[in-house]
């Protein structure tokens, strides 16, 4: 896979009360964002477990974006603050595993911030493009090639 044909697959966990609504708004405003981004609606980013992030990477996601409400604006008071702590810990754990921590990122977006959401998605896609495809997929390809030899 060469650099310019690589379209990162990004899993975006979006909180129902903010980022998911802003993604909806982005649609209404006809704002485009890269097609490799798959949005998963979550009741609150505080609901997301470390395992979700790890399993996303394990199963080949090139990047994982967590989008929760602005700090202080969480529908469940502090779910997004807990999420931020879990994301920080998971980023450190990914580094221990040899995976660049920038593949996992958390942002805070309100329901009205459609433009900002699109911007952070582009930033995430750019970062992941620079990092290249998820190395777990690469090693799988190498393995297959070796087996075929």
């Amino acid at each position: 896979m060469t650099e310019h044909t690589f379209e990162p697959k990004i899993l975006a966990f979006c909180c129902h009360f903010c980022a998911y609504a802003s993604a909806d708004l982005a649609g209404s405003m006809r704002l485009q964002y890269p097609p490799g981004v798959r949005i998963i609606r979550t009741p609150c980013t505080g609901r997301l477990e470390v395992e979700y992030y790890l399993q996303a990477i394990e199963n080949g996601a090139d990047g994982v974006l967590i989008a929760g409400c602005l700090e202080g604006g969480c529908h469940f008071i502090d779910g997004n603050l807990f999420a931020r702590k879990r994301v920080t810990a998971t980023r450190a754990l990914l580094e221990e595993c040899g995976i660049d921590k920038e593949r996992l990122r958390m942002v805070n977006i309100s329901a009205a911030m459609a433009k900002n959401l699109v911007e952070v998605i582009f930033e995430m896609v750019d970062t992941v493009k620079q990092l290249g495809p998820n190395p777990l997929k690469i090693s799988r390809t190498i393995l297959k090639e070796e087996i075929l030899k």
Partner: protein, 222 residues
């Protein structure tokens, strides 16, 4: 409860090196409560090990199981069928759990995935503190329920040492001086007179210095 902490992923990779098919075995008791080796941590560590091994281009099979208690044969037996299927077991139990599993499966490599740290309590969310060093001859009754063996950095039975500053231990400003706590507590409960007596040297033969310990209760044996 027993408080433990996970080893780093590179450390764990090194420990399980050479094995292709691993069972990560959690324990549902102390290490679940201290968030080190319960079902969730088993799932997280297993996933991390799969990621790290795939990244190296040497993927291994890592499966997960958590039993109620690893230090109890009744529960260890429930894992027997599963354990047989793997090259090795990475136990997330405390040091006692790991050894209990290893004794039951003499042919199976059983490794410790945690660093068992101390006997302590949950101080506040995410904070555990050490409270007892299992000395085998408890002196809490004489010190207002505050353990000088564990909580005084010098394990002094006739403290304080003279190094404390503003109620803090001289080894760290984050650590309260155990003797300050003892004095305050004994004063509060009207037992400060207890400190007038010179405490005799402790009998350490009841502690780890006497070799690993066994307790036998004849009235409970069959």
């Amino acid at each position: 409860m027993i408080v433990a902490q996970r080893k780093t992923i590179p450390e764990l990779q090194n420990i399980i090196k050479g094995h292709k098919n691993i069972l990560v075995l959690g324990c549902g008791t102390c290490v679940t409560v201290c968030l080190a080796g319960g079902e969730r941590e088993v799932s997280i560590i297993s996933s991390a090990l799969r990621i790290a091994s795939k990244k190296l281009g040497e993927p291994i099979k890592v499966n997960e199981l958590t039993i109620e208690r690893q230090c109890d044969n009744v529960f260890i037996e429930t894992a027997a069928d599963e354990i047989k299927k793997y090259d090795a077991v990475l136990s997330l139990g405390c040091g006692a759990g790991v050894q209990a599993i290893a004794e039951r499966y003499p042919d199976k490599p059983v490794y410790a995935g945690l660093d068992t740290a101390f006997l302590g309590i949950l101080e506040s969310r995410g904070v555990w503190t050490e409270k007892c060093a299992q000395c085998g001859a408890c002196v809490l009754a004489d010190f207002g329920g505050i353990c000088p063996v564990t909580r005084c950095a010098k394990h002094m039975l006739n403290g304080p040492c003279g190094g404390s500053r503003v109620e803090r231990c001289e080894i760290s400003p984050n650590q309260p001086c155990a003797w300050q706590l003892i004095y305050k507590r004994l004063k509060d409960i009207g037992e400060v007179d207890k400190l007038k007596k010179i405490y005799p040297a402790k009998n350490w033969s009841k502690s780890l210095d006497g070799g690993s310990r066994t307790i036998i209760r004849e009235d409970h044996r069959i």
